[in-house]
């Protein structure tokens, strides 16, 4: 029974108990931990933003030789976001938004096509090498049928009659099995985390065992 003597461990243990107090009911201790967490994480994000992004990628290239004067443009775009403060100039914010969201949209199109569509389709073709054994053949056909039915389930241009209705029913079966499996795995991961916290409290803090 050697209770920890480190102030930090005690701090972590107290905060942990304050969060768990929410399980009893929403109480001031929980709200205190909630707001400390909100503040600290925002402060942490700002520090990271400052050290990993603002300084190396904005301040240094601009103010230290060789000066990258082209950075004036994004800064101007950024300043335009302050237009939101005045009713008259609130439309100014559309420019930085258009640049930021439009840029990311263009950037994502080839990446999305590559990893979300082409790689998945490429792996789903029924090729001869998938029919090595009886079991692998059955599995290959089942995967193919499941993929087909799932795609039809998410087909919006046709009413669900005759062929489409049946395929959608098959599709939802595969989808629900997939969700069940995902559910099971997520439960396992959450329980492991809870066990991790309890081990911290029992072992590191109270020193039992």
């Amino acid at each position: 029974m050697s209770i920890s003597t480190s102030i930090w461990v005690w701090m972590a243990a107290l905060l942990t108990l304050m969060v768990y107090s929410f399980l009893y009911k929403d109480n001031p201790f929980y709200r205190l931990a909630e707001h400390i967490f909100m503040g600290l994480s925002l402060g942490y994000t700002l520090t990271i933003l400052w050290y990993n992004y603002i300084i190396p990628r904005v301040y240094e290239p601009l103010f230290l030789p060789p000066h990258q004067w082209s950075l004036i443009f994004p800064i101007l775009l950024g300043i335009m976001t302050f237009g939101i403060f005045s009713k008259k100039y609130s439309w100014l914010i559309k420019y930085p938004l258009a640049f930021y969201v439009g840029g990311y949209a263009g950037l994502r199109i080839p990446l999305l096509l590559q990893s979300w569509i082409i790689r998945q389709v490429e792996a789903s073709f029924l090729t001869p090498d998938k029919f090595t054994s009886l079991m692998s053949s059955i599995n290959a056909i089942l995967i193919f049928a499941g993929l087909f039915a799932t795609l039809i389930y998410f087909y919006f241009s046709k009413k669900r009659e005759h062929g489409f209705g049946a395929a959608a029913q098959v599709g939802i079966v595969f989808i629900m099995v997939a969700f069940g499996a995902a559910f099971g795995y997520t439960v396992m991961a959450r329980i492991s985390l809870l066990i991790g916290r309890m081990q911290f409290l029992i072992h590191d803090w109270l020193g039992i065992m």
Partner: protein, 380 residues
Amino acid sequence: MLIGLLFFFGQMPITVVARTDSISLKPPTNLRAMDTPNDHGKSITLFWDCPLDISNIEGFQIFREAADESLHLAGYAPVNKTEYVDQLGLRNNVEYQYSMRSINLEGVVSIFSELSPVVTAYPQWFKKNEVNILIMIIIYFGLVIYFVRIARKGKKIFLRRIPGLDALEEAVGRATEMGKPILYVPGIWPMDEIGTIAAMNILKPVAKKVAQYESRIIVPCIDPIVMNVAQQTVKEGFTEAGRPDRYNQDDVFFLTSAQFAYAAGVNGIMVREKPATNLFLGVFFAESLLLAETGNATGAIQIAGTDRVPQLPFFVAACDYCIMGEELYAASAYLSEDPRLVSSIKAQDWGKMAILISLFFGSVFSILGLRFILSWFSAG
């Protein structure tokens, strides 16, 4: 026997104590080198034929030299390989020559193979191996533009009813009967994410309905851009419903930036403000269940919709209705009934039908031995 203590000048100091007594070790032959295609340069691909007797060989050492670089170790390939891509420390438009030798477990090395022909690495201006993706993008762009044009001409385009959305209107109605606020959680991802944009599209008609029923809508946000887009969208919803006066900017606010602090904050709102209807639409992660379960405990009607697949099981199991994956995008088109949006769902369905057809015929042909459809979908 010569103990090769090989020093070299330039990058890599290596102290290799090698006994070269066995003549039996043969170096690889027919060494060829070429610039690696479709890349930003600084990379050369080597090909060679393995020596006949490779029983004793553990791998091949690859040496490189250039006008200003002496012959030095640049790479290593295990014995079963006959190809190697050299990238480290290469420069464009510099003439390089390569030579190789075999090495066995004890570190005994063979003599050097003959030098490869001179080769230079240089960048290309177009990735030829990804032309299939470019063609697909062009076709898909064409589909989107085509359908938008015919929709603008007022052609009615059929769209299947999405059950979750009709429940949305009923749930908003229920909240107004009880005179309680509606909580609209637009997910925890910034504005550049497609799921968040769909959430914004759905927020507008919902805000409009809330204004008509003279009810209140609370929209806690996690990201700066999402917050001011939400403020603009809700304001427009209220003005379109003819009640700009009821719009309260404080109801659409920035809560915090961290995932779990946000979930904790939203839970606090659910417990304290007791909204009758919780709408979780947009991009969600692990906090999805934290929200759905607390909302369940407050007895509110809950409608969820996300394109994040791992969260769908919990929303399906814990909420009254769940708009799944792609249905979220279709929902924003269905609800806003904007021909431009409805038409783009059409383009997506055509894309799906094209994939279904390619999968079917691709499989049939590949069993017959023809693989041309498969090549369209090679990941390059």
